[in-house]
């Protein structure tokens, strides 16, 4: 900082000097016959490569840099906040709500949004359904189920995907070929059909959806990890590590996996809306979570049957599903842009 000031002072002096000279000599072709310059200024100082080697911009680590970029992305940050709020509400509301999920109020069924019962003073923020159950409580209870299912399903996916893709990518050759053909065959069938078939043979329950979804959706993750490992394997620094005698476990753990981390994170974020969608879709065609539970999908399904009369019963869960999916999608986009600056548009 002080160095800069000194420089600036000097510069001012030089400018003054120049101006004086120009006015004195009244000479505008100074390039050809330069003004007299004090010899002291020609003092030799030599090269100073240390200064030019120092990087003038602050160097930040990859993750710090990525987080910085993410924080600049307003849409992604808003989505992160929305996801946070939905998460917190889904935990708190079912606890503090005066109603339970299946508590029925036969006296006021189909109540409208913001209904206050004149009789018992019950307040139903989002109204009630056909059995007089409080929609507000059910929505946040449903959020728990929907989010639990999608997070668990994606978690299972990621584990299977990383292991499968990692093995295929690391070993390569014939093993990789066979493993990829299996994926190709699975992908040849629409995943929803497989999920539906799986849902039908397993007993109804929350974990059934998780298992059915995870049994199919890991292929995307596996392909991604395999591709990453494949290309990383050929990178010079990995080859160098191998040449220096690093064990496979060290190469995988230290070089390959950490470098796939960013694509995995983006894929996770973008998989969650897909899992939410699947859960909602299954519930919507009547294969979702069994009756004592409620998820956003089952709420939407219940609402659909009545929505010509009571549209809010469909619209509220629909908004919840869409808003959550939207938030995760935008956050995923933001993360991708932040983690891979090359792809930044």
């Amino acid at each position: 900082m002080s160095k800069k000031n000194v420089k600036e002072n000097k510069l001012n002096k030089i400018n003054d000097l120049n101006n004086e000279n120009i006015t004195d000599m009244n000479n505008n072709s100074q390039e050809i016959t330069p003004e007299k310059i004090d010899v002291s200024r020609f003092e030799w100082i030599g090269s100073n490569t240390t200064e030019s080697e120092t990087i003038s911009r602050p160097s930040t680590s990859y993750w710090k840099d990525a987080m910085h970029r993410l924080r600049r992305n307003k849409a992604a940050m808003i989505c992160l906040i929305i996801i946070g709020i939905i998460g917190i509400l889904s935990i708190i509301i079912p606890i503090i709500s005066p109603y339970t999920v299946s508590e029925q109020h036969v006296t006021h069924t189909y109540a409208k949004i913001g209904y206050t019962d004149p009789g018992d003073g019950h307040v139903h923020l989002f109204g009630t359904d056909s059995l007089g159950r409080d929609v507000f409580t059910r929505i946040w209870y449903g959020a728990r189920i929907s989010l639990f299912i999608s997070f668990t399903a994606v978690f299972v996916n990621v584990i299977i995907g990383i292991i499968y893709g990692g093995i295929a990518g690391y070993i390569g050759g014939a093993v990789d070929n066979v493993m990829m053909r299996i994926i190709e065959i699975i992908n040849g069938i629409p995943y929803l059909i497989i999920v539906i078939l799986l849902m039908m043979i397993m007993p109804k329950g929350i974990m059934t959806i998780v298992v059915a979804y995870a049994a199919v959706a890991w292929t995307g993750m596996a392909r991604l990890v395999r591709g990453q490992i494949m290309s990383l394997k050929q990178q010079d620094y990995v080859v160098a590590a191998k040449v220096m005698g690093a064990k496979p476990s060290r190469i995988i753990g230290k070089h390959l996996l950490p470098n796939t981390f960013s694509v995995v994170i983006v894929h996770i974020t973008l998989s969650i809306p897909s899992a939410i969608f699947t859960e909602a879709f299954l519930s919507y065609i009547g294969l979702g979570v069994p009756v004592p539970y409620a998820s956003w999908g089952t709420l939407a399904n219940e609402g659909r049957q009545l929505f010509q009369m009571y549209p809010h019963l469909l619209i509220i869960p629909a908004i919840c599903i869409s808003l959550t999916m939207l938030s995760f999608n935008l956050l995923g986009d933001g993360l991708r842009d932040a983690l891979d600056p090359k792809l930044r548009r």
Partner: protein, 333 residues
């Protein structure tokens, strides 16, 4: 000799989110018919930006011509509208790019890519344009032109593609041809062929050529004049002979010293230039090379040196050439 191009005190900046990157900071040069000017410098010195600005190929924004003027065939490029540029590009000035692998549209037949340019600028029928395309392909020494014209770029080798690029650039007999590192991406043997071809074309068509390169060997074989760029500025210009045998700027000298020659003894080590070029986000006030220059003086970091004339047809921006500089006598070599 007619003046084809005149670039005057050109300043080009890129507006990035980190700030204004001053890529070109006052570049001046001119070019006559049939003349070859080589612009030499290391990566990021602004040579390509200068060339692309002449055709206004830089996407604007983020690029921006801050000041200066470019006179090309009597037209001021800086003020030309996009519509006017469409008539200038390909007709008055055309360009050959660095990587022939990516410069041709992979999903369009080579012949079609040629006729497209021809028909855009000349009012020719489809057949006439096709004939002209075949003639051009023959001109750049491509065998079996009839068959070749129907092929796609991926069926051509790198050198062949660069020939196609040259044919395309020549399609409307431009007054100026800009070759932006035309041989960097090619094998050494192919490099020589392409340079020979450019030389041949120059002799046949009398086109002025700007040759952008960081390969001094390429420069020596072909250029009439050389401009050495460093950190967005032209630090030295002169005839090829002057630059190679009587370099005045320490940067030029360092560049030449880093070049191996056939006569060189194997025990002689090549000299590399220590340090890195300055960050053009905050370019230094003084000479940009000062921090890497072994002759650097106090004044060098304080003030940008003006252009001096060490001899006829030769300018260099270095304080060592100032008449008050005590080391001027021995600074020459």
């Amino acid at each position: 000799m007619n003046k084809v191009l005149e670039v005057n005190d050109l300043h080009v900046s890129f507006d990035t989110y980190a700030g204004e990157v001053k890529a070109v900071r006052g570049v001046t040069f001119e070019l006559h018919e049939g003349e070859v000017l080589a612009i030499v410098g290391e990566s990021g010195c602004g040579k390509s930006v200068t060339a692309q600005t002449i055709m206004k190929l830089n996407p604007m924004p983020p690029a921006r011509i801050v000041s200066g003027e470019i006179q090309l065939a009597g037209k001021n490029i800086v003020k030309a509208t996009e519509k006017e540029m469409m008539n200038i590009r390909g007709k008055d000035v055309s360009m050959i790019f660095q990587d022939p692998m990516t410069c041709l549209n992979p999903t369009m037949q080579v012949g079609k890519q040629l006729t497209e340019a021809i028909r855009h600028h000349q009012n020719l029928s489809k057949e006439a344009a096709h004939k002209e395309a075949l003639r051009l392909l023959e001109l750049v020494n491509i065998p079996n032109v009839k068959q070749r014209a129907k092929q796609y770029p991926h069926e051509f080798s790198g050198g062949m593609r660069q020939r196609v690029m040259i044919a395309m650039a020549l399609s409307c007999a431009p007054k100026l041809l800009i070759a932006d590192e035309p041989t960097t991406a090619l094998d050494v043997t192919i490099q020589a062929q392409i340079m020979d071809l450019l030389q041949e074309i120059k002799e046949k068509t009398n086109t002025a050529i700007i040759l952008i390169t960081h390969d001094l060997g390429v420069v020596a074989s072909m250029a009439d004049r050389v401009a050495v760029m460093y950190a967005g500025k032209v630090v030295e210009t002169g005839t090829a002979e002057e630059i190679f045998y009587r370099p005045s700027h320490p940067y030029t000298r360092a560049l030449l010293k880093s070049l191996p020659t056939v006569e060189m003894d194997r025990s002689v080590r090549l000299v590399s230039i220590a340090g890195t070029p300055p960050d053009l986000l905050n370019p230094p006030v003084g000479c940009p090379f000062a921090s890497r220059c072994e002759h650097a003086m106090k004044i060098c970091i304080e003030e940008m040196p003006p252009q001096f004339d060490p001899s006829d047809n030769h300018q260099a921006a270095c304080w060592l050439l100032h008449e008050d500089c005590p080391s001027k006598k021995d600074g020459g070599e």
